[in-house]
């Protein structure tokens, strides 16, 4: 599939902006390649910079379904692909036995007993969905190895049903917060983009786009304060999500500027560790200054 150049109809940057997501050119280009080349994209970066949101917005921009697989420690292929409805299968066996009927494997492992999970769901869609494999670094090595086969071949094997090949290749986005070093093999199969905190001007634009009713002074102050907080040696520096939460909290409290009192009341929206709050407090007066 060859797409027209950026100035042609599929302008993801504009499509994202319409949906309140200010995507930088590098992200827009990488997402464009996901669609054009059919390769998965690995998005790495600090928490809260909009990696997951990028997948959601891509699905909305392409007018397709978003299928999300949230990874966690202990996730296995079985839980990500499919499960059999064991209780229903047992009832079926019992009923067949009571009725004197014989049961074959084909009866027992029919589609009516199959419960699809996100990955199988994604490859069975008639139109390419956006498949978000979120926080892949939380899953363990074995699951990552399983993903390699799926991402390379776009097919999975269900022992009872055989090999199922994707009807339409999904647009795949993987996200990672670097909780674990991902294998070179997985990286090689993916396009790669490091998503960093936005610049102050970009973040101000994001705040304006997501909270159109915010007072201009407040938006500028919040953005400046967040950038100052990120300069401090915090345990959990605020992401863009926290900036938006904080700004939304201040708007909800009908504030049009950031003063010491407002900052004190809403600090929990932006700093989520007590140690970080203690560390930031001496600088609060400076941050709240006009």
């Amino acid at each position: 599939m060859t797409l027209p150049p950026m100035d042609q109809p599929l302008d993801l940057q504009a499509a994202f902006r319409e949906r309140g997501y200010v995507a930088g050119p590098a992200l827009a280009t990488a997402l464009r390649l996901v669609v054009a080349l059919g390769k998965p994209l690995l998005l790495e970066g600090p928490a809260g910079v909009g990696k997951t949101e990028a997948a959601k917005t891509l699905a909305a921009a392409l007018g397709t379904r978003l299928i999300r697989l949230q990874c966690y420690e202990g996730l296995d292929a079985q839980s990500a692909l499919y499960e059999w409805n064991y209780a229903r299968q047992l009832l079926h066996l019992r009923a067949a036995e009571a009725g004197g009927r014989s049961v074959t494997d084909a009866d027992l492992y029919g589609p009516e007993f199959l419960m699809t999970r996100p990955l199988l769901e994604a490859i069975r869609q008639p139109a390419p969905p956006v498949l978000l494999i979120d926080e892949v670094d939380r899953a363990d090595d074995a699951f990552e190895a399983f993903l390699l086969e799926l991402l390379a071949e776009w097919q999975v094997t269900v022992p009872e049903l055989g090999t199922l090949t994707a009807t339409a290749r999904p647009h795949v986005l993987l996200t990672s917060n670097r909780a674990r070093e991902l294998s070179d093999a997985l990286r090689r199969r993916c396009l790669y983009l490091w998503v960093d905190y936005p610049t102050r001007a970009q973040e101000l634009e994001i705040v304006r786009a997501r909270l159109p009713n915010i007072h201009e002074t407040l938006a500028a102050q919040v953005t400046r304060a967040v950038h100052a907080l990120r300069e401090l040696p915090l345990g959990k520096p605020p992401g863009v999500a926290e900036t938006l939460d904080w700004a939304a909290a201040l708007v909800a409290l009908h504030r049009d500027h950031l003063d010491a009192e407002a900052l004190d009341l809403t600090l929990g929206a932006v700093l989520k560790l007590r140690e970080d709050q203690l560390l930031a407090r001496p600088a609060l007066g400076k941050l709240a200054a006009p």
Binding site: T2, L3, P5, M6, G24, P25, A26, L27, T29, A30, R32, L33, A36, L37, K39, L41, E44, P46, Y72, E73, G74, L75, D76, Q78, W84, Y86, Q89, L90, L93, R94, A96, E97, V103, D105, L108, D140, A142, N177, R178, A179, R180, E181, D184, R187, R188, C190, L191, Y192, L193, W194, V195, D196, Y197, P198, T199, Q202, P233, L234, G235, E275
Partner: protein, 404 residues
């Protein structure tokens, strides 16, 4: 827009150059994808071409920085400044394609000097623990600003600068150290993982396998199958005090770190003195059989001791990676010039996340030793074990001591 033959040649040359000069793992597959990508972007927009090629040809944030500088060297405007010479990510490799020269020969310039590892703007070949602010954002216009000699000089003349110098650790005792490291890997028990796998006895009924077995007995689950949680495979985070006071113990423990790295790929090694540096990429490249030689580690070796500050810096950098699978080994004599409160804060944070924290001290091996140092006093409440590491014997006994 269709790429011209010249552009295609340049892109292929760029791929070969990244592989040969910087050790990028890119080959014909990536070159093909890069050429394919050229057909989907606006070739009149240099930045768009760079973003597309970066997404295809890099696999980590660190590679992204090298890529930007190399791309600029290949496609830069005539009036642009000469590109800096960059240190390779990996040793030079043989390649099927020889890299054609860039558009202009690389001239030696002031920006070419290799940055000092361990300095505030050190260029870790793979990554640095606190590199979040020192690397460019791909979304920002980055035209390549290498560390300038002035910056490097500032780092070296800092009042906290370490003695630095090359680090040589002789070979000879590697087999013993490997045995000690193997015993340690075996001994560390961090409980059970969360993944369920088939086991003869376990916590949960394996409905799938039980049902398959039941199909042969007309639905009667005569033999139950079980799922259990396997032992957690430990991940090691070694923090080695390379300050002057550690003396010869530092090189012994460095070789031990290398041995542990050879025994398990799940090992991260950092060294600190007044500054902190990540040694993992250097150990990864070191030939396993020979003597261990490391380049100048700057502030991370041979200077004073700032345990708390560096541990806190490490905790922040590695925070996301420290989990209940992680065994943290701090190798230090505890003779610190920093504030114990900072150390307490770092250890409290590590304690909340790691599966095990062990402090190994060369001083603790001395007869009559009392843990009276301020740093050790501050650390003890947060440790699972405080053990001696005076020599090979102590390291050999480490596995057994931890098992008890």
């Amino acid at each position: 827009m269709t790429p011209t033959a010249d552009l295609r040649d340049r892109v292929v040359a760029l791929v070969a150059h990244l592989r040969v000069a910087h050790g990028f793992r890119v080959g014909p597959g990536e070159a093909t994808a890069a050429l394919e990508a050229l057909g989907t972007v606006n070739l009149g927009q240099r930045r768009e071409v760079r973003d597309a090629l970066r997404a295809i040809l890099t696999a980590s944030r660190e590679e992204g920085r090298l890529f930007d500088l190399t791309f600029d060297a290949f496609f830069r405007l005539r009036e642009g400044p000469p590109p800096p010479q960059l240190p390779p990510l990996l040793p030079e490799t043989k390649a099927p394609l020889s890299p054609p020269p860039p558009s202009r020969p690389l001239a030696k310039g002031p920006g070419e000097e290799r940055p000092v590892p361990g300095g505030p703007h050190a260029e870790d070949p793979e990554e640095g623990p606190n590199s979040s602010s020192s690397h460019p954002n791909p979304d920002r216009e980055t035209e390549g600003e290498p560390d300038t000699p002035a910056r490097i000089l500032t780092a070296r003349l800092s009042p906290h600068a370490g003695a630095g110098g090359r680090v040589d650790a002789l070979e000879g005792d590697l087999p013993d150290l490997l045995r000690a490291a193997g015993a340690l890997v075996q001994a560390v028990e961090l409980g059970r993982g969360r993944r369920l796998v088939p086991q003869p006895r376990g916590a949960r009924l394996d409905a799938r396998r039980t049902l398959r077995a039941a199909a042969g007995t007309a639905g009667d689950p005569a033999r139950l199958r079980w799922l259990g949680r396997p032992r957690r495979a430990p991940r090691f985070l070694l923090v080695l005090d390379g300050s002057r006071s550690m003396g010869k113990s530092a090189t012994l423990l460095l070789r031990f770190a290398q041995a542990l790295h050879l025994r398990s790929r799940r090992v991260e090694v950092y060294a600190f003195s007044t500054g902190l540096t990540r040694l993992t990429p250097l150990l990864r490249r070191a030939p396993p059989g020979g003597p261990l030689t490391l380049p100048d580690l700057g502030e991370a070796w041979g200077g004073g001791t700032r345990i708390g500050e560096n541990l806190l810096r490490l905790t922040r950098g590695e925070r996301a990676r420290v989990s209940r699978d992680t065994a943290v080994l701090i190798l230090s004599d505890g003779l610190d010039t920093g504030e114990p409160e900072t150390l307490t804060r770092a250890l409290r944070d590590l304690r909340a996340r790691a599966g095990l924290i062990v402090w190994l001290s060369p001083l603790a091996a001395l007869p009559g030793y009392q843990p009276v140092q301020r740093a050790v006093q501050a650390a003890l409440p947060h440790l699972d074990a405080f053990l001696p590491a005076g020599g090979l014997e102590d390291l050999r006994a480490l596995g057994g001591r931890l098992r008890r």
